[in-house]
Symmetry: C2
Subunit: 236 residues, 2 copies
């Protein structure tokens, strides 16, 4: 393998969205005097609307629309479903941008910093550029550039999301490694000729997680324990 | 002014293309036994083909084509004009990628590092993403992300090159500052509502430079002596 760049899934792989969203919104709700909502459940319900909202774009029924807009539409539905009252437009936008304020898993920044010394590192996420940049500034994620859905105008696992990210780096897929905690993402990347590394995130979905606890060796080239282990295995 | 991001012209503003190209190619020519060429003149002639090559795209006569490809076409013309013989395809690609190996002006990295502590910093260049990423890795330019022509699919000074870069950051033009050593670039940015800062690079074109020695105050909001002075003036 002659790897020149590592691309990363972000939600779940680099950052802990479930804990971050619920903690942030619980604090905001307290400040606003909103009681009686289980914010972990709210975060999970919001995330459940994520794939269906992108399916509209993947199917071609809807023109490419950035994730901030899809998140906002899902949020508006949830605010109505949970009967949350008294939020201003500014409040709702602040809540929507909680996805810009996610905390990394503890090994993410040290691992990425080591990987950056040898490889180009970039997200290949379904998050839009502003979301990825704001998250990186806050969390200290040392990306070389931001690639993924918005620059490809295609949502993973569509082939173009991976292929366009490679093309924008001027690299063949065989010179790129996709890193994710989700086997389905790596299966799609592998099908386009990228190398693949799996890092387990067994608490992404909370204590009872049953999915993606182990790499699917049919599509994973390199299993690693975490980002620091990945850096070591790649000689950084 | 409520500035959230600073966008930078790169060729001439961040890096010294003339000295870098001529020095790099002179060393390569010596190694290859190619004699009798003034590599500073060669660099200048190559750069003269830059605007005409982009004009084909700006006019709509040609679909958007990344700068690496335009550079290569210009280089092929020059190799023929200078009657340089004996270069392999690998050699020619190595020469073409000299634009990925440009050295920054001495104040660029310290200034950008300070600016990054307060603002999103990104190139808004006509260079393609791979070119900008490879240059940044080599030169230590600490960009938060790579914006500009390739993500906009429009070459400056087309309005879309500036507007799309702002949009991808989720920012209004009024929250963005364009930084350049070229008044024409700042005039175009200002026309789209961006704030503007001018940094003189009086040696970009060599000792006899007559253009862009001073800011055009009709389109420049903030004149600065260099990137470190700009950081100080913006409170970093």
């Amino acid at each position: 393998m002659d790897i020149r760049a590592c691309l990363f899934d972000v939600f779940g792989t680099v950052v802990d969205w479930r804990t971050s969203v619920s903690r942030d919104l619980a604090a905001f709700a307290k400040q606003k005097g909103i009681a009686g909502i289980d914010w972990t459940e709210f975060a999970v319900e919001w995330r459940k609307l994520y794939q269906p909202s992108m399916d509209e774009v993947r199917s071609g029924r809807r023109a490419f629309t950035i994730l901030d807009v899809l998140h906002r539409e899902s949020l508006d539905n949830l605010i109505s479903r949970y009967r949350i009252k008294g939020l201003s437009e500014t409040d709702i936008e602040h809540i929507n941008r909680v996805w810009h304020r996610l905390d990394p898993w503890p090994d993410a920044v040290p691992g990425l910093t080591r990987l950056k010394s040898k490889f180009i590192i970039a997200p290949c996420s379904n998050g839009n550029i502003a979301l990825m940049v704001n998250m990186a500034k806050r969390a200290g994620l040392p990306w070389d550039c931001i690639l993924g859905a918005e620059t490809a105008r295609a949502y993973k696992p569509m082939p173009e999301a991976y292929l366009n990210s490679c093309r924008q780096l001027g690299l063949a897929p065989a010179s790129v490694m996709m890193v994710a905690a989700h086997n389905h993402d790596l299966k799609a990347a592998k099908a386009q000729g990228l190398n693949t590394a799996f890092v387990p995130r067994p608490k992404e979905h909370g204590p009872g997680q049953t999915t993606d606890l182990a790499p699917d060796l049919a599509c994973v080239d390199l299993p690693a324990a975490d980002f620091v282990d990945l850096a070591a295995k790649l000689g950084c």
